[in-house]
Symmetry: C2
Subunit: 195 residues, 2 copies
């Protein structure tokens, strides 16, 4: 039966929504099962623990996002145009979230601030994701440096880190104010960081 065979996927979807909304500590296994319409007894058939479920939520979410990042960054345009498209995509996601509900922000940033001092395993997962994000951005900055459209002050790795920090700080304020307008000036700010 469909309902049984996709129980794992339903639990992952439910957990992703709940954790983005209320964080790791605020969500319980029983609640995930109830939202996914799965009997609680089945949970441990699929996941060892809430931590294991959350790691899988993080992994799947990044897998989806990563494909979109790679698509945006490997298009045919000039390097800085592709970077602009990437950050515009982030802003559009927040705007879409804002239009349909409250802004929950970035799953990875939310969990970074919640769990970094508490869960070394999840923290390592999140570090890898932000490392990959920084490497993807730095790769395009390298292309821009090579074609002369960018003359970075320091390393492109440092610049990529600063750009992601600007993004995450802006997303934080968008969530705090439940207002996507906090992201309106983002590309202008990132351009200034690059020059």
């Amino acid at each position: 039966m469909g309902r049984t065979s996709d129980a794992r996927e339903r639990m992952l979807d439910a957990a992703c929504g709940l954790i983005r909304e209320r964080g790791y500590t605020g969500v319980g296994v029983a609640e995930v099962c109830s939202a996914a319409d799965v009997r609680k007894g089945s949970f441990y058939h699929f996941f060892e623990s809430k931590q294991a479920l959350t790691r899988e939520v993080i992994r799947e979410h990044w897998q989806t996002q990563r494909a979109r990042w790679v698509a945006a960054l490997s298009g045919p345009g000039a390097p800085l145009d592709r970077l602009e498209a990437l950050f515009a995509m982030q802003v559009d996601d927040i705007r879409a979230e804002h239009a349909s509900a409250a802004i929950n922000g970035c799953l990875f940033a939310n969990l970074s601030l919640e769990l970094s001092t508490q869960d070394a395993t999840i923290r390592a997962d999140l570090q890898s994701i932000f490392d990959e994000q920084a490497a993807l951005v730095a790769g395009v900055l390298d292309e821009a440096a090579a074609d002369g459209s960018l003359t970075p002050d320091g390393t492109t790795a440092e610049l990529a880190g600063a750009m992601l920090a600007q993004l995450e700080g802006a997303v934080l304020f968008a969530k705090l104010r439940n207002d996507a307008a906090a992201l309106d000036g983002l590309w202008g700010q990132l351009r200034r960081l690059m020059h």
Copy 2:
């Protein structure tokens, strides 16, 4: 007796430490009382709820920080030197935290990402604090614009918001990596945002 009369202060201190470490949801009233060496029965003599305690933690923490912000920003130096001193103070705080323990980051940012979608009252408290921070920074940017040391592209309010976003994003990465080095380039990044 000292132990009794300062019970409220001890609960606030304990709660501030615990909440910075583990967030709002992860900390219970019983734990705060135990850490503060106060009988649980006394808690509700001082605070209506965990929310009320947390609001007071936030208020007191900002009262202390605000005095330091005002002191850093109203010194005798040039406006941009005072701004640099303010951000250096933030970085030094994280470095000191790193030297003595794990980096818990910014109480206000942590609670913003944890609670913005869940607690409208605490969220309003946090919004006011970040509004005040932005106004303090914008005031010094206005001084810099007036004396010609800064020619802002947009409004100084927008620029102040972007600078605070850069700070909070960098603090997020410092916490994620438990490494204050994530903040090494901060002033250089803020200078680029200003120019």
